[in-house]
Symmetry: C2
Subunit: 474 residues, 2 copies
């Protein structure tokens, strides 16, 4: 439905909420956001109580014929940014048992990913996964694909057609991967990666929606010369880079063994020129102080993947500390290490992980408040933080004049007067119970802790409607 639709000047009317800084959530009960034909926000009105007419008048004559989209029992919220996920692993969501990273890869991941030589299968899985992420309000997503060029290009096609902003990465791995699923040589790894870069740039020359991203799986899967060749490719093409770092302790030990001359895991990537302002490092759970310093100096970014780190027992990333040190952080679903395609779920999981960090604090008998992420901070990571991780901090993440309108319409349920609900809660509005005495801040909190895709009834990217459910009423 998305890409073919014409955009018309539109005013989004009703409540909205967004993070204006890491610690401040702005809520506005009666807002009006004017978006032009290019999907750019032209005005943000905070006192819409005087009615549509007044808003239109204030916007100027050109807004007379604007379309009105009103949110009733909910609010507009910026679209979510997923800074790290693996689209081909979608069918394995929820399957991990008691494995940890390295045996999980062999048991679950490699057999499935290798099957993406089958384009028909790739199409089914990728199409479904993009539907899933869109339906959860993800307007921008950094995707790992597989090593296969045609399937990776297909994922780029799908994202472009559906209108979801995406970084699409062909996975490189020429070492310690199964015989049946690895790059044959450094040359072929670079050649195939280049092909995917060129393809993505051919279908979306301005890179408004789809961009390529160079994707060495992680240090243990790549020889030093392969990493360096990919660093060189990044320099030459000015492409984004994504990889994993410091996810679990066995992996870190393995990297130390494989790269005995490197000072650290971070140093492996730095040596290969893979740490750039356009680099996304997923996990970053167990970084040393020195590694964090290097990452900050190189302006590389971090994708925090709390659900995955918990499910695979990788560790608790001390996010609040990393934020205090000035690192740039977003959230990643990391499907299928992560068990959910929803960034809203990651918002919750990031909060839980921060609470576990707070409870681990050895020096205090009560939990260390300074380690806790607040609801607002977690929402910031999900929107503005993520936008900065993918290099779109000037374009998305909040509702300001000049930004592009990437947003979701959130609708909440309403508890009936008599209370009882028969049948499913779908008809009653999903999982969030609003009694109608809650403030807008409280309704946002309720959404964060109880909400799911049922509450995400409409999703826009650059002003274009890319997803809607039956509860969306334009």
């Amino acid at each position: 439905m998305a890409a073919s639709e014409t955009i018309q000047k539109t005013i989004y009317v009703g409540a909205f909420a967004h993070c204006v800084s890491l610690t401040d959530l702005e809520v506005c009960e009666k807002g009006a956001i004017g978006v032009d034909e290019g999907g750019v926000i032209r005005f943000v009105e905070r006192n819409g109580g005087n009615g549509i007419g007044a808003v239109k008048e204030k916007g100027g004559k050109e807004w007379d014929a604007a379309k009105i989209v009103e949110v009733k029992d909910g609010f507009f919220f910026p679209g979510f940014v997923d800074t790290h996920t693996h689209a081909p692993q979608h069918p394995n969501t929820g399957l991990f048992g008691k494995t940890t990273l390295l045996d999980w890869l062999d048991t679950y991941t490699f057999p499935l990913e290798s099957s993406f030589s089958d384009l028909q299968k790739a199409k089914r899985i990728y199409s479904n996964f993009v539907s899933r992420t869109l339906s959860n309000g993800t307007t921008t997503c950094a995707y790992y694909a597989t090593k296969h060029v045609p399937a990776t290009n297909l994922l780029a096609d799908i994202c472009l057609a559906r209108g979801q902003r995406a970084l699409v990465g062909r996975v490189c791995m020429n070492m310690l991967s199964p015989e049946y699923y690895r790059d044959e040589s450094v040359e072929s790894a670079v050649k195939d990666s280049r092909e995917c870069i060129e393809y993505a740039r051919s279908i979306d020359p301005k890179g408004d929606i789809v961009n390529p991203i160079i994707t060495p799986r992680f240090a243990p899967s790549c020889t030093a010369d392969c990493l360096s060749a990919l660093g060189q490719l990044a320099k030459e093409t000015q492409a984004h880079i994504q990889t994993h770092i410091s996810e679990n302790k066995s992996e870190i030990a393995l990297v130390a063994e494989l790269f005995p001359d490197s000072k650290s895991y971070t140093d492996v990537y730095n040596t290969a020129s893979l740490l750039t302002p356009k680099t996304i490092l997923a996990h970053a759970v167990h970084l040393s102080q020195e590694e964090r310093k290097t990452i900050k100096e190189k302006q590389a970014k971090i994708a925090h993947c709390p659900a995955s780190n918990t499910a695979l027992t990788s560790g608790c990333c001390p996010v609040r500390e990393l934020l205090n040190e000035g690192l740039t952080i977003g959230l990643g679903t990391d499907v299928s290490g992560g068990f959910s395609p929803s960034i809203l779920e990651q918002v919750r999981q990031a909060i839980w992980v921060s609470r576990f960090v707070a409870m681990q604090s050895p020096s205090v008998s009560s939990p260390n408040d300074a380690a806790k992420l607040s609801t607002t901070e977690a929402l910031y990571l999900a929107t503005r933080g993520g936008a900065a991780v993918v290099g779109l901090e000037d374009k998305i993440g909040g509702f300001e004049v000049g930004k592009e309108f990437d947003a979701q319409m959130v609708r909440l349920g309403s508890v009936p007067k008599e209370g009882e609900v028969t049948g499913g809660f779908e008809e009653a509005g999903g999982p969030v119970d609003v009694f109608n005495w809650e403030s807008l801040e409280e309704r946002v909190e309720k959404w964060v802790y109880s909400g799911d895709d049922r509450n995400c009834v409409g999703v826009w990217v650059r002003g274009r409607l890319v997803h809607r459910t039956g509860r969306f009423e334009a």
Copy 2:
């Protein structure tokens, strides 16, 4: 719909799964469970491949006219047992900010609970909450109500009318509670509690569905003589008991201060004769070895509330250790300290908490596998474990001849051939993506990690259908 419906002999046909022990999940692809007019399971057939006719024949002539209820893209699973929750706090679900237990009570809980003098309000909230718990597959629930007798009795009425097994407890608190919300005296606390016990027994004399439970809020809210009087009342009435124990460290310090002569938090309850085989102790996060020993000797039971303990930063209950020591444990949602009315969510949260315990283990560089709960173990806690906590281990928790049929019909989605889903995922079957190459074990795992109330399409208590959604097809 529930209580008025007549039960007819019914055969539940299709896949089923249940825990046969703490570590064994039985899955059966082609099952048939025969349930009589009293809601009792009369046969469990594991080779239903020969068709309904053969099953009926095997059951005997009396099953000829039995109703057939078939599950298609899913399985039957035992109903969940919620061993600890606070029905009046339902409207505060998701509201807790960065508070911890003691300030959370003052900020959020007491003001709301005290308003249950308003019966109209109580009706709306209780009716809605019972709808919520039923819709999440909770067939048995241990409810805290408030201190108000009429509202507590109303909750018992609602549970009986809707057909949900319930322990309904009037909350006692004569100390350290706000002026506006406390028992005036020990005598009035006992009198009011007795009134609620008698009421519950008058509306359900056999106690098949509703039973009373004596409910001292927790040690800091009750004087020693109040606790002893309630212990005495329990002895006299043979009623169940529920309270909180060892939830967070400040609370434990407070108890030590308030009860200087007691050896421990556990000892406070033991001294008051409140530790019995019918006692449910919620939380039990920071118990000493000696306290655990006392609880085991007294055969008291434990309600593990992982979501709540994480949200309020109370601590990580070492559940696997408690299980190894032979304690009886179920799961509790602990709304609204807990942010979800779903026991399936608690299954996940119990697994996450156990993983955090595994990662905290100081002596190992890799996570301590022995601390991790498996999916099966967590499901056991949610069903048989919970059944034992509420004293129904002989009646519910699994599918065996002689047990009563407390069950949920779980239906999963199916990824379409082309993959793409437009509109919401409600129509496509909810949050679980099944590609149809998964084994039944894998489908159960997917449900555990991605499922929600959308997958719970029908719920039975004692063979009576007490909840159904639009996707239920009898």
